[in-house]
Amino acid sequence: MIPELGNFSLVLALSLAVLLSVLPMVGVYRNNQLLMTLSRPLSSGLWVFMLLSFGCLAYAFLNDDFSVRYVASNSNSLLPVYYKFTGVWGGHEGSLLLWVLMVASWTYAVSLFSRNLPLDILARVLSVMGIISVCFLVFMLFTSNPFDRLMLNPPADGTDLNPLLQDFGLIVHPPMLYMGYVGFSVAYAFAITALLTGNLDAAWARWTRPWTNAAWAFLTIGIALGSWWAYYELGWGGWWFWDPTENVAFMPWLVGTALIHSLAVTEKRGVFKSWTVLLAIAAFSLSLLGTFIIRSGLITSVHAFAVDPERGLVLLAILLVVIGASLFLYALRAPVVKGTASYTITSRELFLLVNNILLVVSTAGILLGTLYPLIHEAVTGDANVSVGAPYFNTIFLPLMALLVVFLTVGSISRWKKTSVAYLKQQLAKVAIASVLLGIVVPLAITQEVNVPIFLAVALALWIILGIARDIQTKTANKGSFISGLKSLSLSYCGMQTAHLGMAVIILGICLTSHYSVERDVRLAPGQGIEIGSYEFIFQGVERVQGPNYQADAGEVTVLKNGASYLTLRPEKRTYFATGSVQTEADIDVGFTRDLFAALGDPRGEDAWVVRIHLKPFVFWIWLGAFLMAGGGVIAICDRRYRVRESARKDVPGQTTDGLDPSLTGAS
């Protein structure tokens, strides 16, 4: 009964989504206020029924309703209750339901938090988001219904959730990632609206920015969680593999980053308008492309969903509608939203343009690398090509190094025109200091010449010292340093926090890549190995009982410089419920290094294979990602996104009402 209710809610949600995508849009063109105002209640209705539907599937999971096919293939009566709940998004159908629930949630959020949007704009935005919901609800109901019943011979028990998914990291990773993916649909809807109205002004950019930041922050966290999971659960010390599934999440992130910067220019200076619109379309399109690639099984990957080409065909049709139609609309309408303001060669606008070009070129490189095996096969008929990390690193790392060079210059320069003398005065010392320190500090600590390390440290210092210099300049005339800090706007603080995150990530990645030590050794109790100033001594393994598992618990004592330091307790757990065993690595997370121990397998007597890693600064990778996401959130809190009227005053010559004559005529 409950699964039927869930199915029925899905159908109702689809009906509401159809109404949402049609009625307000009709209202706009008929100038019918009533139809336009329907967009809000329809959005709420869509959200409520999606939530109900999700609740029904969760109920079926929690109550072991194995007559539902999806539950039967992704759960088991012995599964712990929290994994029963997270099993809801453990497979294709359920995660698609979560995906659409999130589209509906973003739609509902826009209808809630956009009280200061003109009604006709809101109606268009919500309508466009309604169309996205319609596409994916149709896809779900006709090809991947999570409520399908196994009418004949429902199994007595389920086949269990994939053991790899029974892990905290993978519980939170997909929802965060989807929130990011789907969140770009808001920027996309705003972009389509701008193309439809032909009106793209500072206010438009101001409405779009917080939504884009929010989606980007979710995506940042989602990607970081995925990487963190790979690091601590797979336990082979890697945190990024340039796997297609990672790439398809990373591409919308890169374009989203470009979009955030381009939106800033569009808001402040009224230029790059059609470019901003294109980026907004591209960010969401790449999210959809990612969904398509993963769910159609098009490209073989370590952790993709089950393969089903027929679903792929329907998804490709959706892609054609959503991406193809919007890019076509862009081609027709982009001249209408062209910017008119001018800027010079050393303005902030130009540096942000460079930022955009670098980010888009890296995205294009990654896209090419990801799709290349497919293209190669289509052209030559030879299926034996794979593109690996060396290609991606060659493309990506130099571009990012260049990006960082421009990052500091861009964030310190001024809009419209920045004199070269000013840049020199601000940055000459910063440049010299970062290059010198970048060479001297690593050299002093390691006593070896390592150019990539020099470069990474110098680039990170270039960002950090640049931030310090800029804050110093900005607070110089504000009396005390504290009152100066208080006068900084939140969007400025957000920007610098995110940039600081970038510096931290660079340090983390570079230091970890170069200085990690990884050893797999066979150790008998009492034996040990020495890595750097640490000595790891294996004390043996004993059987312990956990609440729902039995484990071989190892004990590895760590000495630092010969003195007792700490004890790592890696475990190998056999869960009673499924009989599956999880290797639980024990990681001592430190600010400057992680100590990592995991049990391999027993090797006769009392000896075990023990995997021991010393990973310097690896924590900084996730710290940096967290800072970036935090920066995005801080920027959202800026007052000006909540001030109703100020939108129309800042940028002279542009209005939010009606069509700006200077814009509509330009082409």
Binding site: W236, V302, L319, F328, A331, L374, A383, S580, V581, S667
Partner: protein
């Protein structure tokens, strides 16, 4: 180039890409699943399911036709295909059957094989999941057919029965024998 025409570049790029994607979907779904088909079996050194037997390396099996089956005692479809494996392991003398335990519960795997019969010539455990990841395994059961040169000829996702065997494996076996 005309400025208006330039604006159609994004949609043109997208349509070309969509063409490739469509081509990708049109490929034989049986060849899609593995990037490893027509490539060598990844090298590995893994312990035996029976600790007293030490460990096996991929090199030990060169020169033989291999049927590599990834399975786990917890996995119902693996139970389903198990009797069929017992059957063909009797009749197909020139094929070396290698079982790779997908879960890590070596005790239960050993019990399972003791109770229901052992179709495998060699039993390997993949304790840390590294071999599974090298093979790009998405779940259990999965089966790889490997020729005498150590190249993967075919990968099957899901349980194998007589139909699958006759349709997919027998023609390939005829070629390499």
């Amino acid at each position: 180039m005309n400025k208006r025409v330039k604006l159609f570049i994004p949609v043109a790029i997208f349509l070309v890409m969509a063409g490739f994607l469509l081509y990708g979907l049109g490929r034989d779904p049986n060849t899609v699943p593995s990037a490893l088909v027509d490539r060598p079996l990844p090298e590995f050194t893994q312990p035996s399911l029976y600790p007293e037997l030490g460990e096996y390396s991929s090199g030990d099996f060169l020169g033989r036709i291999l049927l590599v089956n990834i399975w786990g005692s917890w996995c119902p479809p693996c139970h389903l295909e198990h009797p069929f494996f017992l059957e063909i392991s009797e009749t197909e003398d020139d094929i070396t059957f290698i079982g790779i335990s997908y879960d890590y519960s070596t005790v239960e795997d050993r019990e399972f094989l003791a109770e229901r019969g052992n179709p495998f010539d060699f039993n390997v455990v993949d304790l840390d999941g590294s071999l599974r990841i090298d093979l790009g395994v998405t779940g259990a059961p999965e089966t790889f057919l490997v020729d005498q040169q150590g190249m993967i000829l075919y990968r099957h996702i899901g349980a194998i029965d007589a139909d699958v065997w006759n349709d997919k494996f027998v023609p390939l076996l005829r070629q390499i024998r």
